[in-house]
């Protein structure tokens, strides 16, 4: 199927941190969630998708095009929302529109007015006096007003109240009625994804742990709970990480069927939430 974004063996080295050998495919028409702890490499990856950072090695393709030749074509078709405000702080929305709108061939003034009134954004107040939520709404209004096919968002929900987060997710779902549109967004609030994500990529310490559909994740990952005496060198192999307590153990597996075969009915197997997965993976990878 066609991929909107493709990262092939992408590596970016910093002094004290690196993103290594990243392979990621973002499929057209779906919501792709990007999870990882703070500092795991989410923003770095997104910046490489936006060509704000150039990878040391590997290849970044957006809409099957190369940034070297097609930077403008690519960016015409992307709407972006970043964690912090990137607009000139002293300006109001009217002026920001004056600066941003002429950059896009397909800027739609009516659509922009529609979103600013839907989000109840004041046009004459300078951005620096906006609350965090309003700044985010302003970025979103700009991102949605030029008929972008791909919407890239870096931590759009961080610092937002739960009600607006729900509204935002509803809005994103409305956007997805257009089957040609793709949303890629990073978050460390995994409950954002439970509702709307179709695919989930999980990055940990600069390495991709998985990039799967939500069904694959739900069907393969599980929390196994049982008595500690069931564990030995062999059976431990089934887990990413194991928590031991006086009352028993809890472990995360990425192969439920194998765990079922190994332990039979002697353990309790539960669905692992994304939060569970992040938490256990952070505890350290045992195999892989």
């Amino acid at each position: 199927m066609d991929n909107v974004v493709e990262l092939n063996n992408v590596t970016k080295q910093f002094k004290d941190f690196s993103v290594k050998d990243l392979n990621l495919q973002v499929k057209r028409g779906f919501v792709h969630g990007f999870i990882g702890a703070n500092g795991a490499g989410k923003s770095t990856t997104i910046k490489m998708m936006m060509n704000l950072l150039k990878p040391d090695a590997g290849e970044v393709k957006v809409f099957d095009l190369d940034y070297k030749k097609y930077e403008k074509t690519i960016k015409e078709r992307i709407g972006f929302v970043y964690d912090g405000n990137v607009f000139y702080e002293g300006l109001n929305l009217k002026d920001i529109k004056r600066i941003v709108a002429p950059a896009y061939k397909h800027w739609d003034n009516a659509l922009f007015s529609h979103y600013t009134s839907q989000f109840e954004l004041p046009m004459n107040k300078s951005i620096k006096n906006f609350s965090k939520g309003m700044q985010m709404k302003a970025s979103l209004a700009v991102a949605l007003s030029h008929h972008a096919e791909l919407i890239i968002m870096d931590e759009p929900t961080a610092g937002l109240d739960p009600i607006f987060r729900r509204e935002l997710l509803g809005l994103l779902q409305e956007l997805m009625i257009d089957g040609n549109r793709t949303i890629f967004f990073s978050t460390h609030i995994t409950t954002d994804l439970d509702r709307i994500a179709d695919y989930i990529a999980f990055i940990h310490k600069g390495k991709l742990i998985f990039d799967k559909s939500v069904h694959d994740v739900a069907e393969n990952y599980a929390i196994v709970k049982g008595r500690t005496d069931l564990l030995d060198q062999d059976t431990e192999q089934a887990f990413f990480h194991i928590h031991r307590a006086a009352t028993g153990f809890e472990g995360l597996t990425d192969d439920v069927r194998n765990a079922e075969r190994t332990f039979g009915g002697e353990v309790v197997i539960e669905r692992a939430s994304l939060e569970d997965i992040m938490y256990y993976v952070k505890g350290g990878l045992q195999h892989v």
């Binding site: 403008k72 990137v86 607009f87």
Partner: protein, 202 residues
């Protein structure tokens, strides 16, 4: 790309309101050399742009919009010329209105110095750390305008060969030569800055 040049006007609306009284003050004062006033007026917009453009967020914004990096830099270099011409024009108007004397040479000197200054400063501004661009710009400008002439006078004797050569040239050739060398420096600076900017990460 014209949008990028126009952007400075939107950004600096408030500062632009200050432009006329600021220039007027110096013209009225009448103490400074007209060339110096022209130069101050020309620097008005670009110096503010420097202060804006050192911000990482601004570069993230510009580079996320459908612009090529080479276009962003081109807009700076062309913009500087556009704003220099506009500022010079307005300042001329003020001189006329107040019927103060100035010569074409004043304008030529200020334009030449302005282009030289921006040509030196642009590449540097993309290398030095953020937060330092504005002070560095001010200090180097002051230093250049105070120390610069002294250095020239100091070396005037040593550079007799050159000065002799220069003075032996006819006036038109001298001006053409000067204009050409400034333009070459400007274009080379433009290329260097583009090279630096292409390699930056945000």
């Amino acid at each position: 790309m014209f949008n990028l040049i126009r952007r400075d006007v939107i950004l600096q609306k408030k500062q632009l309101l200050l432009f006329v009284p600021f220039t007027l003050f110096f013209v009225l004062l009448g103490k400074q050399n007209p060339a110096f006033i022209f130069l101050l007026a020309s620097l008005f917009v670009p110096i503010n742009t420097f202060a804006y453009d050192e911000k990482v967020e601004v570069n993230i914004l510009l580079n996320s919009l459908p612009y090529k990096r080479s276009e962003i830099i081109a807009s700076r270099y062309l913009g500087a010329i556009v704003y220099m011409l506009l500022a010079t024009g307005v300042t001329c108007g003020l001189f006329y209105a107040l019927s103060r004397p100035f010569t074409i040479t004043d304008i030529a000197i200020s334009s030449g110095l302005f282009l030289l200054f921006t040509a030196l400063f642009f590449p540097v501004s993309y290398v030095i750390k953020k937060g330092y661009v504005f002070p560095v710009a001010m200090i180097s400008f002051l230093a250049l305008s105070i120390i610069g002439p002294k250095i020239v006078f100091h070396f005037a004797d040593d550079l007799k060969v050159i000065t002799d050569f220069v003075t032996s040239l006819s006036t038109p050739i001298f001006y053409i030569g000067l204009t050409l060398s400034i333009l070459i420096i400007y274009v080379v600076s433009w290329m260097i800055t583009t090279f630096i900017y292409q390699r930056k990460g945000f």
